[in-house]
Symmetry: C2
Subunit: 252 residues, 2 copies
DNA sequence: CGTGCATTTGACCACCTTCAATAAAGGTGG
DNA sequence: CCACCTTTATTGAAGGTGGTCAAATGCACG
């Protein structure tokens, strides 16, 4: 098992082992069955994937894989929120992305994981051996194509984030982030009434946007004072003026 | 033709048409024949690619494709240096990457080009219809796999750049950039004697690193004064203390 | 030798960070 | 259920890195 408990550590980087149990589960009832990479598979093909997959349940604040470690597995998220991050030698952290159900990670890692993955909430992951999935690309061309498509979308989002990190001001960064999270949150949730659920901490948001927690907090307060958003609880934000927020995010 | 002359414009963003000619060329003698995506193709398969490819020669400072435009073509670089960039509404620019022979662009653009591509030097490009290349993925699985691999590497580099943009200081950014360019410049060039050729302007470097030209310039001067590099001409930089530069780039 | 552009350098300033204190939220045990 | 402690978030004051504005220098090209 690769899951490590990091909940009692400074900056969430400890490496105690935890003992969550691995269990087999049918892919047919999986929440990701008709999204993500599995959606291109026929039922028959699905079984060959199911045979090499294990479902892993983890608590919040657990490390799933570590930057530099040999990349044996690919992970598909079934439930919860995951953060992917990289660190500099002195501990400065950059969060590369927040992942949600249907997203996967650990594939683009031929020379070991290029990032650390940690659970933000309690989570359920589907774990499969990288090598066997890669081997299936020639067997199941549709799978390779689907993965390529997903990777392309991923690349484009990462390039958008480069624009954000390199050229946007603090307020623009936070607003862009809020709108992005809002766009990808399922309609079933609080989406309809313009409410956003933020599972991650202010510190996570800061490290994602290339800011400090203090600046993130001040920008939240400012947006709130300007009546562009309202903050009900710390993790729930309501969009009050979508049009203005969109203009801010695009840098007008 | 999609090439536009931008050499006489403010910030290189004009859209005058130019009339460089398109010509057919055999893929066999192409400099990219044994690198990049073409390397996985058999000679026979190469012909089917050759049939849909055109070689385009362009001068420096020409726009090859524009952010937002319908993405009809994929471009493979045979000669020269290309910059890929995105812009905010008010003109702030972020350069996503500098591309060199063997690199390609324009594939991950299902909803129109997500960036603008411009030549920095005189260049030679191999242009092919996106749809036909994508269609070949099912026909030639090896091609799809190769492209997936390249895209994965690209994604990892982009994530490294996120760390740079979000968490590195000006000096660390510039040093990281210099070392990256040095690593990817062919050994045949000035590599052996620790010399780096920089085809791009200070303004390009600034927009790539999320800085201003003034800061880039000051950091060059500083590194020079600290005897870590020496600047022979503006476009040629010599590495004097590789060990120290590597430590700066990694954030120690 | 002058014109035009890129780069460098200097002085000043602002945005964001850093440091510090306070407040709020969450978890644990009595 | 509340007291206590820890963690997380907010707010304030001061400072620094890098940005802005402006001028000078260097360089290519006619």
């Amino acid at each position: 098992m690769v899951i490590r408990d990091t909940s009692h550590s400074v900056k969430d980087t400890a490496t105690q082992l935890c003992t969550d149990e691995v269990c087999y589960q049918s892919c047919e009832q999986c929440v990701s069955r008709h999204v993500s990479m599995c959606s291109v598979l026929e039922d028959a093909e699905l079984h060959t994937i199911a045979d090499i997959s294990k479902t892993i349940e983890t608590k919040a604040k657990q490390q799933v894989c570590a930057e530099g470690e040999a990349a044996e597995h690919l992970f598909n998220i079934k439930k919860g929120c995951i953060r992917i991050s990289k660190m500099l030698a002195d501990g400065r952290r950059q969060i590369i992305g927040f992942l949600f159900p249907g997203d996967f990670f650990g594939l683009a890692c031929s020379n070991g994981y290029s990032y650390t993955a940690e659970t933000i909430t309690d989570a359920e992951l589907c774990r499969m051996p990288r090598s066997e999935i890669i081997a299936k690309f020639s067997e199941l061309p549709a799978l390779g194509e689907k993965v390529l498509n997903i990777t392309h979308t991923e690349l484009q989002k990462t390039q958008d984030q480069m624009l954000l990190l390199g050229r946007k001001r603090a307020k623009e960064k936070l607003v862009s982030f809020l709108l992005n999270i809002w766009h990808k949150s399922p309609a079933s949730e609080t989406n309809a009434d313009h409410e956003i659920y933020l599972p991650m901490s202010r510190s996570d948001i800061a490290d994602y946007l290339g800011l400090t927690i203090e600046t993130v907090s001040r920008q939240f307060t400012q947006l709130s004072k300007d009546k562009l958003i309202s903050i009900t609880e710390n993790q729930f934000v309501k969009i009050l003026d979508l049009r203005k927020l969109e203009r801010i995010a695009s840098g007008e």
